[in-house]
Symmetry: C2
Subunit: 360 residues, 2 copies
DNA sequence: CTGAAAGCGCTTACAG
DNA sequence: CTGAAAGCGCTTACAG
């Protein structure tokens, strides 16, 4: 029989012993983390009482609750989200689906959502769809099994399968950026049509007569702005379908510049352009500067959203300030109510604002 | 006794009956989802065999595995991530911590990370720190208990507590955007110092002698670029500390414009400005246009990162194209290897590129 | 108000 | 290669 043990072996031996003494019942599979049971033992109550106290259920004696909280604090107890999700069939994550992160609009939206949800114990889980319904579906298929506590999605345009996944999940869902009158639908948005109409009207009021509409991406909200443009110009007797330039390409400053040059050439008599988004408007403005085209002298330029930099352009860009932060905040707040079962789905329509600057 | 039952009551009655007939053993707490046990029953094997087959463990007879896969497909089985995470002590989410979403740099990084991780079965979980170490710590405290499979963090600058949380978690972690020689550290970045030096050298080579450095945000990477600027100018005998304009404010086009105007006034003899980021550089460029200051005639302007729009400026902006997508891809790939235990932590240094345009 | 029991749906650790 | 048992750390559903 070998008597000498190596230090390493002794170390392991003593560690094992120590562990055993402190925690005689720690199983081989234990993760080592402090559990509800540990807190219960320390507080001298049952685990379920700890669970209730920590979740703030009021059916717990205040004195007991206090003892539990103290024990939890002392032991540095942190609930295991996976165990919680498994037992309750609900996680504390909120899936937020946006089309793009490269559009500052959605970054502002996400900021507001985070600021609203996170302090209330819910964590936004960001999914980017790239304006692709197949991607959105895949995200839903991937994340719905995680049983998110809530869902925040952009607009109403999605595949039938995605729609059914949403409905079938039973997870509270708020639609952002657009409004709908469909009963039972929760949404927070503003009138894209109205905003498109408003900025077009501004151009008309400035005395412009050949007002073009230039759009990229062509998502539903862009098309609604187009509708507002048409409405306004029809009413003014100025509508000419040839002045609509629609590109399915991804929106960007470079694209805006290119489209601006095209339009100047193909439609030499236009005296104003309403760009569906500030980034292509900024590109158009810069192209004008490059080409020596006077803005607003020769041509007026208007954008949409009031993104970063629009106020810095030369001349500064007239645009519509969209309430995306408010949409994020109000949408998240509504979701909070729905998740708590405090309110029924409803629809909130927020205001936009016409911001007149030097480009018109 | 009342004989007549309302339709509603009968509906409920029959529903319950149907459910009972189909699923005699479904417990009261069942979530209704198809489980491993259902697949096992359908395939005529034990649940553990299903688990192994579905995870692709090779210690399963190919025939059995095939039968399992078929059954799973037919039943539309989707594993429960919470149960999986609880049993295995590891989720499939990868926590990604970035300072800001409003800097396009990090959006590009996140895109690349998502494209690399998602197809491999891992889901990025985005956390935004706002360059605030307390926020980063809070995010870590919130998300680490979820037992992410991996961690992707920006740079090395964090609180001691955050550092210990990272180290203590035992979760594989890759640091992005900076490099380090510390042993055992995994990182993917590029030389911020070198890049700052390179663009300053370009200005020197263009014949500029009073070259200013203008920075905002002042995060570690910005300061490293400043160091590159100094190194270059010292070597050229052109360094003058009065030409460093450092603002702790958040970087933006508006701030760039303001700082540009200040500098022109306070430092009338400067003939070039190296802005630490393209957004303030763009702001400076636009301010120059507004003020009628000739670029590069009177003053040369250079930026950093090559963000969207820099090529559209008038004149287009000279800058450093940073490899953020490559950093994201390579970082995520390295993390994948670490999570699979296929590789040891190491450090990858990528290349940047000087992009000379009209502004210098 | 409190608790013992059972269960959520997986995987680990042993056996064979 | 396959499986029965136990366990991951919580909450639900009953009882009292």
């Amino acid at each position: 029989m070998k008597i000498a043990l190596s230090y390493a072996t002794m170390g392991i031996f003593f560690c094992g012993l120590t562990l055993t003494l402190i925690n005689p019942r720690r199983s081989r599979r234990s993760s080592g983390r402090t559990t509800l049971a540990d807190v219960a033992a320390a507080a001298g109550v049952s685990p379920i009482t700890v669970s209730r106290a920590l979740r703030g259920e009021r059916s717990v004696d205040p004195q007991l609750a206090e003892r539990v909280h103290q024990a939890a604090r002392q032991l540095g107890y942190v609930p295991d989200p996976a165990a919680r999700a498994l037992a309750s069939q609900r996680s504390t994550q909120v899936l937020v689906l946006v089309p793009l992160l490269s559009n500052a609009l959605f970054v502002d939206l996400l900021e507001a959502v985070h600021r609203t949800l996170f302090p209330q114990g819910f964590q936004p889980l960001i999914g980017v769809t790239h304006y692709d319904s197949a991607e959105e579906e895949l995200l839903l298929r991937t994340y719905l099994p995680h049983r998110p506590a809530g869902l925040l999605v952009t607009g109403f345009d999605r595949s039938e399968d995605a729609r059914q996944l949403l409905a079938g999940s039973g997870v509270p869902c708020v639609h952002l950026m657009e409004t709908s009158t469909a009963p039972g639908t929760a949404c927070v948005g503003f009138s894209q049509v109205g905003a498109g109409e408003a900025i077009t009207r501004h151009l008309v009021e400035r005395g412009r007569r050949r007002i073009a509409f230039c759009a990229a991406q062509l998502d539903p909200r862009v098309l609604q702005r187009a509708e507002g443009y048409r409405r306004c110009l029809r009413a003014a007797g100025l509508y000419d379908p040839r002045l609509e330039v629609l590109s399915a390409e991804r929106s960007s400053m470079a694209l805006g510049a290119r489209l601006f040059e095209d339009m100047l050439q193909r439609l030499p008599d236009i005296d104003a352009i309403f760009f569906c988004n500030d980034d292509i408007a900024q590109g158009g403005l810069l192209a004008a500067a490059r080409l020596g085209v006077a803005v607003p002298g020769r041509i007026a330029i208007a954008g949409f959203n009031d993104l970063a930099g629009s106020d810095q352009m030369v001349p500064p860009l007239t645009t519509i300030r969209t309430p995306r932060s408010e949409v994020g905040r109000a949408g998240a707040t509504m979701l909070l109510e729905l998740m708590r079962g405090e309110a029924a789905p409803r629809c909130i329509e927020l205001d936009y604002e016409l911001v007149v600057r030097g480009s018109t």
